[in-house]
C-alpha cells in the first residue's frame, strides 16, 4: 500500500480564506472517500491519499514558495489551487514545467491557454455562466439599464468586460460601472450616482460576499427598489448574513447548487457536519474535480505519469458529479478544453433562502 500526496495550495488567511477552505476541504473529503474504501486502486496498487495543505495568503510570492515546496520537497504531482488569479499565473511556470496537474479557481482568462496543458479549471467562470442568465433576466424582468460595482482587481476587471458584452448581447446596457479599492466599506456615494442615472438593476457579480452584502444593504437604504442581481459567485448565505434578510428579499443570484439534487444536498450536509461552518459555494466543484482526477489516474493506470493522467482527464466526458453532468469545454474561448461545464441555476432570495427560479446550461435558461 502506498501513499498518494496531493497538494492543496490555497488561501487560508486573509479575505480569500472562505474559498480556500472550501477547496481544501473538498479535496480532503474526496480523499476521505477513497481512503475509507481502503485506498485508491490504480493499476492494482492501493494508494492512501494524503492532502498537504499550504497557505498562499492570496499572494503571488507566497504561492511560488509553497509551490516549490510542494513540487520539489513534497514531490506532489497534483495541486488543488490556487484561489487567486495572480498566484496561479505565478506558479504555472513551476507546475507546467514539472508536469504537475493543477486545478485552479482563478478566474483569469490567461490561466487556461494552449501552452499550459497541465492546468484545469473545474468551476465555471463568468465567461461561461453570464450570458444565459442575463438573457433570462433581461427577458423576464424587463431590465434595460444596469449599474454595477466592481473591485479594482484582476477578477473585477475581467468580469466587468464579460458582463458588458453579455448585457449588450441580451439587448440591455451596462450603463454605469464603478471600480473601487478592495477595502472600501462605504458605497453610498457610488450608489447615489448609479441610482441617479436611473438604472433598473444593480449587478453584483465579481464582488466578495461581504462587499456584495454591503452594497445590497446600502442600496436598499438609499431607497433603491429595482432588481438586484448577482450572476456569478455563489455566496448567498454570506450576503444575507451581511445585508440582512429584509434587504436581500427578492434579489436574484447565481447558484451552482440545487438543493433538490440529492447528491448535492448530501454534500452540503456532510460539509456542515464535518467542519461546522457553512459550505462555500465553490467547494462542490473541487470535490468533483478531485474525484475526476482520481478517475483519470485509474483510467491511465498510473499516478506517476502525469502526461498520461492529463490525457485521461481530458478524455472524461459526461461525468456524473454531485452537481450534475459535467464536461470539459473552452476550446474556442481558451484554445484548450480545460474548462468544466456544469448545470447551474438562477435563484431568487426569499426569507434569506435561495429558491430556484430557472435552470440553465451554457445554451440557455429554463
Amino acid at each position: 500500500q502506498e501513499t498518494l500526496k496531493i497538494g492543496a495550495l490555497v488561501t487560508m488567511s486573509g479575505a480569500g480564506a472562505s474559498w480556500g477552505n472550501g477547496m481544501k476541504r473538498a479535496a480532503e473529503m474526496a480523499a476521505e472517500d477513497v481512503n475509507e474504501t481502503g485506498g485508491l486502486d490504480v493499476g492494482g496498487t492501493k494508494y492512501m491519499v494524503e492532502v498537504i495543505a499550504y497557505d498562499d495568503s492570496y499572494k503571488a510570492n507566497e504561492a511560488v514558495t509553497a509551490a516549490n515546496r510542494l513540487v520539489f520537497e513534497d514531490k506532489v504531482k497534483y495541486i488543488i489551487g490556487t484561489v487567486g488569479s495572480a498566484p496561479i499565473l505565478a506558479i504555472q511556470p513551476i507546475t507546467e514545467e514539472n508536469g504537475v496537474i493543477t486545478m485552479t479557481l482563478g478566474f483569469t482568462a490567461q490561466a487556461l491557454t494552449a501552452d499550459k496543458p497541465y492546468t484545469f479549471r473545474p468551476n465555471p467562470t463568468t465567461a461561461e455562466v453570464a450570458q444565459p442568465q442575463i438573457d433570462w433576466i433581461v427577458k423576464t424582468q424587463g431590465v434595460k439599464t444596469v449599474g454595477a460595482l466592481f473591485p479594482k482587481d484582476e477578477t473585477g476587471e475581467a468580469i466587468a468586460k464579460d458582463l458588458a458584452g453579455a448585457y449588450e448581447k441580451a439587448g440591455a446596457t451596462l450603463a454605469a460601472t464603478e471600480f473601487f479599492e478592495r477595502d472600501r466599506v462605504d458605497f453610498i456615494p457610488l450608489l447615489t450616482r448609479i441610482i441617479a442615472q436611473g438604472v433598473d438593476a444593480i449587478e453584483l457579480d465579481g464582488n466578495s460576499p461581504v462587499t456584495a452584502g454591503q452594497i445590497v444593504q446600502q442600496a436598499r437604504d438609499l431607497g433603491f427598489e429595482g432588481v438586484i442581481l448577482r450572476t456569478g459567485g455563489p455566496a448567498t448565505q454570506e450576503i444575507v448574513n451581511v445585508a440582512g434578510e429584509a434587504a436581500t428579499e427578492g434579489m436574484f443570484v447565481h447558484s451552482a447548487f440545487d438543493p433538490g439534487v440529492e447528491s448535492a444536498k448530501a454534500y452540503e450536509d456532510r460539509y456542515v457536519a464535518t467542519y461546522n461552518e457553512p459550505m462555500n459555494g465553490f467547494s462542490p466543484f473541487f470535490y468533483d474535480g478531485t474525484k475526476m482526477l482520481f478517475q483519470a489516474m485509474q483510467d491511465a493506470g498510473t499516478v506517476e505519469d502525469t502526461e498520461a493522467v492529463k490525457a485521461a482527464l481530458e478524455g472524461i466526458s459526461d461525468y456524473g458529479g454531485i452537481l450534475g453532468t459535467m464536461n470539459w469545454t473552452g476550446e474556442d474561448r481558451y484554445g484548450i478544453a480545460h474548462q468544466l461545464d456544469s448545470p447551474f441555476y438562477i435563484a431568487r432570495v426569499t426569507g434569506g433562502q435561495e429558491e430556484i427560479v430557472a435552470r440553465c446550461t451554457s445554451a440557455g435558461c429554463e
Binding site: E181, D186, P189, Q214, E277
Partner: protein, 287 residues
Amino acid sequence: MSFLIAQSLINGVILGTLYLLMAIGFTLAFGVMRIVNFAHGEFYMVGAFCALIGVTWLGLPFPVTLALTIAVAILLGALVERVVFRPFRNDELSGMIASLGLAMILQHGALILFGPDPQAFPALVSGVFKWGALIVPKSRALALGVGIVILLIFYIFLMHTRHGRALRAIVQDQEVAAVFGVRLEIMYPLGLGLGVALAAVAGGLMAPLFGVSPFIGATPLLKAFIVVILGGLGSIPGAALAAILLGLIESFTSSFVSASAADIVTFALVIVVLLVRPAGLLGRAEA
C-alpha cells in the same frame, strides 16, 4: 446637480464622522502613547465580534452589549500593554513592529475561532430619514449620534482632566511624571486600554453597518493612518477635521469623478499635506 452636491455633502460628513470614530483610538495610542498601533484594526474587529456575541449569542440589548464591549476592551488593552508593549515604551519602532505581530495573532486567532465567513448581524434600525430628495439611512444616523457622544466624552477626559493630562505627560518623560506621583503601572495600561476600547466601540457600532468577519480590520487601520497623518500627531480637533475632509473627498470624488480616483486623490493629498505642513493640518511641531 445641486441635489447631488447636497447629498454628497451629507454623505461625506457622515462618513467622515464614522471614520473619525474608527481612527480615534489609533490617534490616542499614537499621539499620546506614541505607539503606532498596527493592531488597531484588529481591536476594531474584536469589538465587532464582542458586539456580535452579545447581541446574537447572548441576546443582550445593544446598549448593554456596547458597555460590556468597552469593559472587555479596556481589560484586553491593559493586558496587551502589560504583555506586549511594556518593554517598548521608549522605543517607538520596536513597539510598532510588535504591534504587527499582535495584529497577526489577533486576526488569525479570530479566524481559528470564528472561521473566515462574514457573520450575520441583525440591523438595529432600518429605514431612512428623508428631507425632500435628501436621504440619511437611520442606521448611520444612530452610529453617528452615539459616536459623537463618545468622542466628546473622550475629548473632555483627555484635555481637561488631570488623568488625561497625566496620560499626555507620561510619554514625554515617564520618570519625571512618576516622580510627581503618576502611577505608570496604572496609566500605561489605562491609556492603551482606552485606545483599544475606542477601537472596539467603533467596531461594535459599525458591526450592523459594515458586517463582522475576521478581516474587517483593514479598513479602519487604513483610515486611521490617513486621519492621523492629515490631522496631526495626537491632535483630536485635527483628527476630526481630517476625518471629515477624508469623508468629503471620498464622497465627492466618488460621486463626481470615480471611485478609484478617490483613493489616489486621498493619498496624493496626504503627501502634499505632509510636505507642506509636516505636523498635519492642526498638529503642532515637535518641540
